[in-house]
């Protein structure tokens, strides 16, 4: 009875592939359930029900309700797919969607690179007290989005900020980062990399810890170079973790709202509107929750599609090799 083992946290992933990459043995569940299987059902269900209700209230009720919102006008009349078709013609929405995707495309590889690099460094034998390094490096994960944005807004400030100091020291003109569309995009990407790369670091570090040490010794005996050992042994081992990290970093970077609220407020113009900011603006400031729900649906679809792609290409071993 190893049901729980094979359930995966991610959509679209088969049980067999989870098993093929799992190195831990299944928990000794068989004996336990044989011994105490009697009359457990009712109590167990009772114990689970409160959290199930919570799940229904905050996750399933909203999703179902979202569909109803999409299909009705702001006055509650049935309008079919009008909200969605309006969305396809909404240039502000297009801008927001493209901005979110652009940000994901820039931030995800950066975060993974930074995260992997730091994970390898901390994991190496030269790092000294690992716990201290880890607890310093993951601090951004524990800072609120809005506070992170506020900090970086000060950092980017033309006179108060630190970011322009090296530029002026080199004799260059200081850049007023947040008032021009392209520099604001770069600035926000930097904030996101600062905020999210610790997540990739943490996950990949956990992944590295699962790699058995003795395979490296075997490889060293066989005369494999470090690079070769990394490419052929480490990477395949941390591949599932890499997939999780990719998905989570993508999701985090596309859903960010606090950093934008604190730094650019979507400006200049609408240059830094992302999906979350669009949804917030439409639903809360312009009071069009029904229309905003259509954008929520797009966001969910985007998350789902990205998740599926990453799982398919990163997690699952290619069998046709």
């Amino acid at each position: 009875m190893t049901v729980q083992q094979t359930v995966s946290p991610l959509p679209g992933q088969g049980a067999s592939s989870a098993n093929s990459v799992t190195t831990q043995p299944p928990p000794p569940q068989g004996m336990w359930s044989e011994l105490f299987s009697f009359r457990d059902n009712r109590l167990g269900v009772i114990l689970i029900v409160p959290s199930l209700l919570a799940l229904i209230l905050v996750q399933f009720y909203p999703i179902v309700y979202n569909f109803w919102l999409i299909l009705t006008s702001e006055k509650g009349e049935w309008i079919g797919l009008a909200n969605l078709s309006r969305l396809t013609r909404d240039t502000i929405f297009h801008g927001a969607l493209i901005f979110s995707l652009k940000m994901g495309i820039v931030v995800v590889p950066m975060c993974l690179l930074v995260g992997l690099g730091l994970a390898l460094l901390v994991h190496s034998d030269y790092a000294g007290r690992k716990a201290i390094w880890i607890s310093i490096l993951i601090i951004p994960l524990m800072v609120s989005e809005i506070v992170a944005g506020m900090m970086w807004k000060i950092m980017y400030h033309p006179t108060l900020g630190l970011v322009n100091v090296p530029l002026t020291a080199l004799g260059l003109e200081p850049i007023i980062w947040l008032v021009k569309a392209d520099t604001a995009f770069i600035a926000l990407c930097v904030v996101e990399v600062w905020r999210i790369s610790p997540l990739a670091f943490l996950l990949l570090y956990a992944g590295l810890n699962q790699v058995p040490r003795d395979i490296y010794e075997a490889a060293a005996v066989d005369g494999a170079t470090r690079w070769r050992a990394f490419w052929d042994m480490t990477l395949p081992y941390i591949r599932p973790m890499f997939a999780i990290a990719t998905i989570l970093v993508f999701v985090w970077s596309t859903r960010t709202i606090g950093t934008i609220a604190a730094t650019t407020q979507g400006g200049p113009g609408r240059a830094t509107w992302n999906l979350s900011w669009y949804i917030y603006g439409m639903s809360f400031q312009r009071l069009k929750p029904h229309y905003a729900s259509a954008a929520v649906l797009v966001m969910l679809l985007m998350t789902y599609i990205a998740g599926t792609i990453f799982v398919r290409y990163l997690w699952v071993e290619r069998r046709s090799r």
Binding site: W32, Q59, L118, I154, G207, Q265, F284, V296
Partner: protein, 302 residues
Amino acid sequence: MAQTEARETAATETVPLPVEMAVQEGRFNLRKLLVVIVLYLAAFWTLVPMYWVAISSIKSLRDLAHIPPRFFPTDPRLDAWVTIFERRILENVYNSLVVATLATIICLIISVPAAYAATRMRLPFKFVAIVVGLMGLVALLPPIASAIPLFLLGSDLGIIDEKYTLIILYTVLNTAFAVWVLRGTFMDVPMDVEEAALMDGDTRFGAVRRILLPLIFPSLFSIAILLFIFNWNEYIIALYFVNSMKTMTLPIAIQAQIPQHELDWGVVSAAGTIAVFPVLVAAFTLQRFLVRGLTFGVASGQ
């Protein structure tokens, strides 16, 4: 001292072959130096915004206006701190504290039994599979996706802008995550001890209280801290549900303090320092728990 310690553990952990050791010995120091330099740079990159904010909160106006900005304040002042306390930041701290603490406790109260049931009891096969699978799945859903329906529901019920609404929402928002992580924790604990207690005639509850809870306490504690940090930092739901000073949590208060144009940065820096401080303290005093909890939290899907 730390160095020798590290070298010792490294030596015992990897057990390098003598040949390999001899080959590596020559460049050992250079490699180590490079690794440590890069790590120091990474730590600098991580910490510098926080240092900058803390410093900005005690800079005098003259220091704030100084170009180029000063890395160390020449004339530290507490004006900004006085102002932020005059703007009743302590009420926001109190709100955040109450909401985050209660939501954390209630969340644990409902998710520990669920995780226990999911790992230790024989439940209908599909029931557990579906519930647990879905709980893992929903971790990917953006909170803003639930925010609109919940906000409309809240307005219908007339419970917007109440602390208890925030507590309920934070509790339920974190439940799926908490069950998911706790389930992993419970699966890590071998069941032999518990079984032995049950064989000796202990009740199920007794076995849980005397055997299981002490064993998982460190993990439970780290998960509680993690949930507290999530709640302390929560921003999106608060954005929709906070309307007045009565419920305003710290993140929303900070947003309200951000000046758009003028040079009034000391005050919001002070507010930001207040928001980050407890988290930093938690990070350093509880580092072992926290790293374990965080790693576990994100990795337990494995």
